[in-house]
């Protein structure tokens, strides 16, 4: 939507257009979009447009979760099917733009993502954007205290995609958009693609050791959304 707005503005900015866009934004903010995780079959046949990208995040909780709320345009909501989540991944196609985890609803109350830490991320178009692993842990019996953090579990995300969404991963770039900056996904994907290439070239001797792949220098994938 942001791209749409950007393109719309860049042609010629008029008052009418501005009002139109404002109304559009209000409409989008008001109606949250429900995140529906993609199945293997869906992802295999999926293709994004310039206006969308894939969000991938993990979820681990020892508390019952009703909803996870993500701020953005449009706002997103994810409602897990199971009450407890252990290393569960959510892959979905959403509009490109800036988002931020805002809160988790547990049934006992709302746990807000505290303002002291980074919860925001940017979804790039036509890419799988791994934005982190949301961890909710109850701390004490005698208070409604939870620790909500966004962890970087890139290697688990890579393994998940390799195992569950192989075709999508082969066609689409995976990028790290979680907290901070991290080179691991670039490194792992280079290794993965080299392995895939090797398999094509030298089947069926798949067990032969691969040549190591060096880290792409100066290509730290910036977590530019803080």
């Amino acid at each position: 939507m942001l791209i749409c707005l950007h393109e719309y503005f860049s042609t010629r900015l008029t008052k009418a257009k501005l009002v139109f866009c404002f109304v559009l934004c209000l409409f989008a903010v008001g109606c949250s979009q429900t995140l529906k995780p993609m199945t293997t079959q869906q992802s295999a046949n999926s293709s994004t447009s310039k206006l969308t990208g894939y969000i991938l995040f993990g979820l681990q909780s020892d508390a019952h979760i009703e909803h996870i709320n993500i701020m953005g345009v449009p706002p997103l909501t994810y409602s897990p099917k199971n009450s407890l989540q252990h290393n569960h991944f959510i892959l979905a196609e959403i509009p490109v733009g800036f988002y931020a985890f805002s809160s988790v609803e547990t049934g006992l109350g709302l746990i807000e993502a505290d303002g002291d830490h980074a919860w925001s991320f940017k979804i790039d178009s036509q890419k799988i954007n791994y934005v982190g692993h949301l961890e909710l842990q109850s701390l004490f019996k005698w208070c409604h205290c939870y620790r909500l953090q966004l962890a970087n579990k890139s290697s688990f995300a890579v393994e998940y995609l390799q195992q569950t969404h192989t075709e999508l991963l082969q066609q689409t770039d995976l990028v790290y958009k979680g907290p901070g900056s991290d080179t691991f996904i670039d490194f792992a994907m280079a290794q993965y693609r080299a392995r895939a290439q090797y398999q094509v070239e030298s089947m069926p001797e798949l067990e032969t050791a691969l040549k190591p792949v060096s880290v792409p220098k100066g290509q730290l994938s910036k977590g530019d959304a803080k």
């Binding site: 205290c145 966004l150 100066g218």
Partner: protein, 679 residues
């Protein structure tokens, strides 16, 4: 004659082999049967706690009649662990229980005793007030200084009361004397030897500055000293007769030493005590601050307490002579000091508790802290001082099995940290397990270790994969010159896990296998493994340990040069570890798997930065032994109960793969180990 000598040696070694028992893991990894022993101020009652088959038992014994009564019992499955126990006067004691498995529930309990010459009875109440006792005020009957904490979400409200035990029980402090003079955000209020609230501290996490405060005679809080706790240490002991404050600090010297400190000028004064080589750990003055009673430090990894009072010195010498080759410490004493509870321990002794009556100089053995260990022989650690090329001495500990049961494998075990942590010459269960199975274990206090002065500690900063591993390698080379080993492997936890991998990378011809436990393997990830770590102050803190957070760290991150790891690796990790994030281990596993390198991994579902349950801890050790034996193609360990033990351990490993709460379900592996248990 030669034949006779050979025959004698043969008989001796055969005897060793025959008498050598392999210690069952269930025995070795257990809770202490006697975790604490504490005398009341008059010395008439002894409060003891311990675990029998995991059940927590607290008892009181009337020493005159030796009559014991149980005062608290909790079943293992209820998950009660004792955290703290203290007498508040002759008739009352408070203890604190903790239940990790029940969402970290903390409960304080009050026990009130009634005793006459022939019997003792008790009453127990749950304390409803939440908080902790700052000072039990043992000189005042039924009064304590209590820090009352009320939580509202993550915000806490602290009040301090001089309260009676019943006020704690009822959580009603309306009639208690309130201590109004609090500093906002201060924590850890402490009393001086006269039991008056005198010290507290505040911490500015953004600036990484700890401020020590003291309460002056006009009841005003004064700033005592502000410092960076990641760089310096400043520990107030108490005010001296001359008005100066006694502190243990390293702000004026390389070694932590005992100084006078002028609170007005904030300057260090006279040096009271300094050891030649080691940092001071504690110091004790008499109540008036006239006399320095004792100082303690770790000399060659052993706790040493030096007394300055002639009578105490005499008593200490007596204990030294009685418990030769062992370390001892007074864990409790009555008010007059003529009855003492003495803990005697060493690298080969998991702890014995004695009741020492200094009037008639008798030390009655009460019990071992781990009764199950009594039936077994443990091996002592040898302390080594190894010269380094850089000119410093490296202290190391080598624990070896008896020659007859040795499998000629050296396990190099770097400690965690790496900065501000150290190995001591103390009983350590994993080491004794491995030594019992025939391995020799080397621990090294490399640069960065605590206890040898600030420079030695600072020299380890930012030295991941560099000077730290140089020191370890110096020690390993030294050992290889002195002793012969067929194989060497590296094993360690936390930083030790990282170091083990790096040692194998840096010395590919030396190490034959690696066991990397709960480690860090991608150094930049230390700075961004979760959103709370990318805060500026967190980055600053970690940079003081790891070094600057830039691309150079990739050169010391084994994830990015895993092809240089030429030996089989076992990776173990805790799924809820947030200190050395679980992600580190999975990254290393991922890249090694991609390289088709020999790697095995165990991810413990309920473990954090270490195990929180005994089953996982046993499972990991049994698997580690099996991994090394398979990798090095070693024969069975030596011991007359070897078949029973191996059968049990194979079953134990299989059970771990059948339990979702240990390493998760892996039916294939479970079958393999079940089959092996039947062999």
């Amino acid at each position: 004659m030669k034949i006779l000598i050979s025959l004698f040696i043969f008989i001796c070694s055969t005897h060793w082999v025959n008498s050598h028992e392999l210690i069952p893991l269930r025995t070795l990894i257990s809770l202490p049967s006697l975790s604490s022993a504490s005398l009341n101020p008059s010395g008439e009652l002894l409060l003891t706690s311990g675990y029998v088959k995991g059940n927590l038992n607290i008892e009181v014994t009337q020493l005159a009649t030796r009559q014991s009564i149980a005062i608290f019992n909790a079943k293992d499955k209820e998950g009660y662990r004792l955290r703290r126990i203290l007498w508040i006067d002759d008739k009352r004691a408070v203890f604190e229980t903790f239940r990790h498995s029940y969402r970290n529930t903390v409960v304080n309990w009050l026990v009130t005793f009634e005793s006459d010459a022939n019997s003792v009875s008790h009453r127990i109440n749950r304390i409803n007030a939440t908080g902790y006792i700052i000072d039990p005020l043992v000189d005042s009957e039924d009064e304590v200084l209590f820090a009352h904490i009320k939580w509202n979400g993550f915000n806490r409200k602290l009040k301090i009361y001089r309260a009676t035990s019943q006020q704690l029980v009822r959580d009603n402090f309306r009639r208690a004397e309130k201590f109004d003079n609090l500093i906002s955000d201060a924590f850890r209020y402490r009393t001086d030897p006269r039991h008056t609230i005198r010290f507290t501290q505040t911490y500015d996490k953004e600036a990484i500055l700890l401020t020590q405060w003291y309460l002056d005679d006009e009841n005003e809080w004064q700033e005592l000293y502000q410092f960076d706790p990641t760089e310096y240490s400043f520990n107030p002991i108490g005010f001296l007769e001359n008005g100066q404050l006694a502190v243990i600090t390293n702000i004026g010297s390389d070694l932590k030493s005992l100084y006078e400190f002028d609170v007005n000028t904030q300057q260090l004064g006279k040096l009271i005590y300094q050891h030649d080589r080691y940092d001071l750990d504690t110091a004790e003055f008499d109540q008036q601050g006239h006399l320095l009673l004792s100082v303690s430090y770790y000399d060659a990894g052993e706790l040493q307490t030096e007394y300055f009072d002639r009578d105490k010195q005499k008593l200490n010498n007596m204990a030294d002579n009685t418990f030769k080759g062992q370390q001892h410490q007074i864990v409790s004493q009555n008010k007059t000091g003529n009855k003492r509870v003495l803990r005697v321990f060493s690298s080969a002794n998991s702890g014995d508790i004695y009741l020492w009556n200094t009037d008639n100089n008798t030390a009655d053995f009460l019990a071992s802290q781990y009764q199950n260990n009594e039936a077994y022989h443990f091996r002592p650690a040898e302390t080594l001082n190894i010269p380094s090329e850089a000119g410093h001495q490296i202290e190391a500990f080598l624990t070896q099995p008896a020659k007859a049961v040795s499998n000629d494998v050296l396990l190099v075990m770097p400690h965690g940290g790496p900065v501000g942590v150290r190995d001591l010459s103390r009983f350590r269960t994993p080491i004794q397990y491995l030594v019992n199975r025939g391995y020799s274990v080397l621990q090294v206090n490399y640069r960065g270790s605590e206890g040898y002065g600030k420079k030695y500690l600072d020299d380890g900063r930012g030295q991941f994969g560099q000077n730290i591993e140089k020191d370890i390698t110096t020690a390993v080379n030294f050992i290889h010159e002195q002793y012969e080993f067929k194989h060497t492997c590296a094993i360690g936890g936390s930083y030790g896990g990282y170091s083990s991998v790096m040692l194998a990378v840096l010395n590919p011809t030396v190490y034959r296998c690696v066991i990397a436990r709960f480690g860090v393997f991608d150094l930049p990830l230390i700075f961004n493994d979760r959103n709370i770590k990318i805060d500026e102050h967190m980055i600053k803190r970690w940079e003081r340990v790891v070094g600057k957070n830039d691309e150079k760290l990739l050169n010391f991150s084994p994830v990015y040069f895993a092809e240089k790891i030429k030996v089989p690796v076992l990776i173990t990790a805790g799924a809820v570890d947030t200190r050395a994030s679980f992600e580190h281990s999975n990254r290393l596993k991922y890249v090694l798997t991609q390289l088709s390198a020999p790697v095995e991994h165990l991810y413990y579902r309920r473990s954090a930065h270490g195990h929180l349950d005994r089953k996982s801890a046993r499972h990991e050790l049994a698997y580690i032994d099996d991994f090394i034996r398979r990798t090095l193609k070693l024969s069975k360990p030596v011991g007359n109960n070897v078949n029973t033990i191996l059968k049990d351990e194979m079953k134990l490993i299989a059970m771990g793969f059948e339990n979702a709460d240990i390493v998760g379900i892996d039916k294939e592996k479970a079958q393999v180990y079940k089959a092996r248990s039947r062999q």
